[in-house]
Homo-oligomer: 222 residues x 2
């Protein structure tokens, strides 16, 4: 599959680029084409260091999303929304958009603050990109752990969206060793997943931890 | 400590009664005194079966909270709010109130729906019981697992509240083998924990699991 990471320079976009590049055609997008190309080359070098040879591409956002099957908006909320607006007209209707976006503010502690009108970042992005399927995922996946290629992860990923695109994204998550996807419901349920991000940052700060995440502990039904 | 479980018949109240009874003075409260006394006797019998001898008391709510150090409102949201109102005048100011309460509605999937005015059940209960410290906890602790005394648990509990009462509750959580408390911030952060309850029920239903819970996976800071 061709996967474009918008915001693949630093943070979760870089981590996903590194983890997917061995199995997929990965493109890094940025408002600045040169920065995106540099990020792609830097990812290749990091993978090469681990003995993995693969090619990543980089380009300006509108260029980077061309012919993609999946576009991940790996940007902070305040950049994610204008970026969704900016790519709207170029995006083909069959492209799945993945949102790990979380609206947060700091006020003594970190709060989850979705826009009242939408209730979650995922629904807000879906309202902008109304011709595409938005799937929300990766809210509890620490970027630093994805980027560290020696990290075996062993983490769970909660995924919200419509059934068919959600299944595609869950398969892509399985392509990353150490990540297990869990169906967390329709996109309307995304607010209950998104709010775990600031919660985990608060938990990290208060319990002398870093890169906190969650695992789902359940008993299987026979 | 003297701990009163309001709603100790079935659900998480019964589980906490069973787990705390060997170390604390546990009282089960109900609107119906007889039902509470029966629940206390039933807990004693279950513990006795595991070779643990201890005495639990039961009584009508107003009676059950007398001389307690900690009162847990182990009731569904729609019963928890009127119960908080009902006990307000009897409750001594130094009593810590623990809320595992989560406002939820079913609409295809389970949604977290706190009252707009308060933003979480914990803050709503704090508004009612304004002379007491409310601490929120146990939102991700499956009742069925607490009740099964052979279950070794190995679960994390996110705790929100003011520092001093929160520390007391975190110590009480440590008194239950297999539960690890994590400081998740002030009571104002409780909405981000409460919303995990319906999320986990949705995840259970969609992934052929039951009694889902979470563990916090973090890297410790040296």
């Amino acid at each position: 599959m061709r996967i474009t990471l918008l915001g693949g320079t630093g943070n979760i976009g870089e981590g996903l680029a590194l983890r997917w590049a061995p199995k997929h055609d990965v493109v890094i997008g940025s408002r600045n084409a040169e920065k995106a190309e540099e990020a792609a080359i830097s990812c290749e070098a990091r993978l090469s260091k681990e003995g993995i040879t693969c090619v990543l591409n980089g380009g300006e956002n509108a260029q980077a999303i061309k012919h993609s099957d999946v576009v991940v908006i790996a940007l902070q909320y305040q950049f994610a929304i204008p970026t969704a607006v900016a790519i709207k007209d170029q995006l083909q209707g069959n492209v799945i958009v993945v949102s790990p976006v979380v609206p947060m503010t700091k006020d003594g502690f970190l709060r989850y603050v979705p826009a009242d009108k939408y209730g979650s970042a995922a629904i807000e992005i879906q309202a902008i990109l109304s011709n595409n399927d938005v799937v929300s995922a990766f809210h509890t996946t620490p970027a630093a752990r994805l980027i560290d290629l020696k990290d075996t992860l062993d983490l769970d990923v909660l995924v919200c969206g419509s059934e068919k695109p959600k299944q595609t994204v869950m398969e892509l998550i399985k392509d990353i060793d150490g990540l297990t996807p869990f169906d967390a419901g329709p996109l309307e349920a995304s607010y209950m997943v998104e709010s775990i991000t600031p919660l985990l940052i608060n938990v990290s700060a208060r319990n002398r931890m870093k890169n906190s995440s969650i695992r789902i502990i359940g008993q299987s039904i026979e």
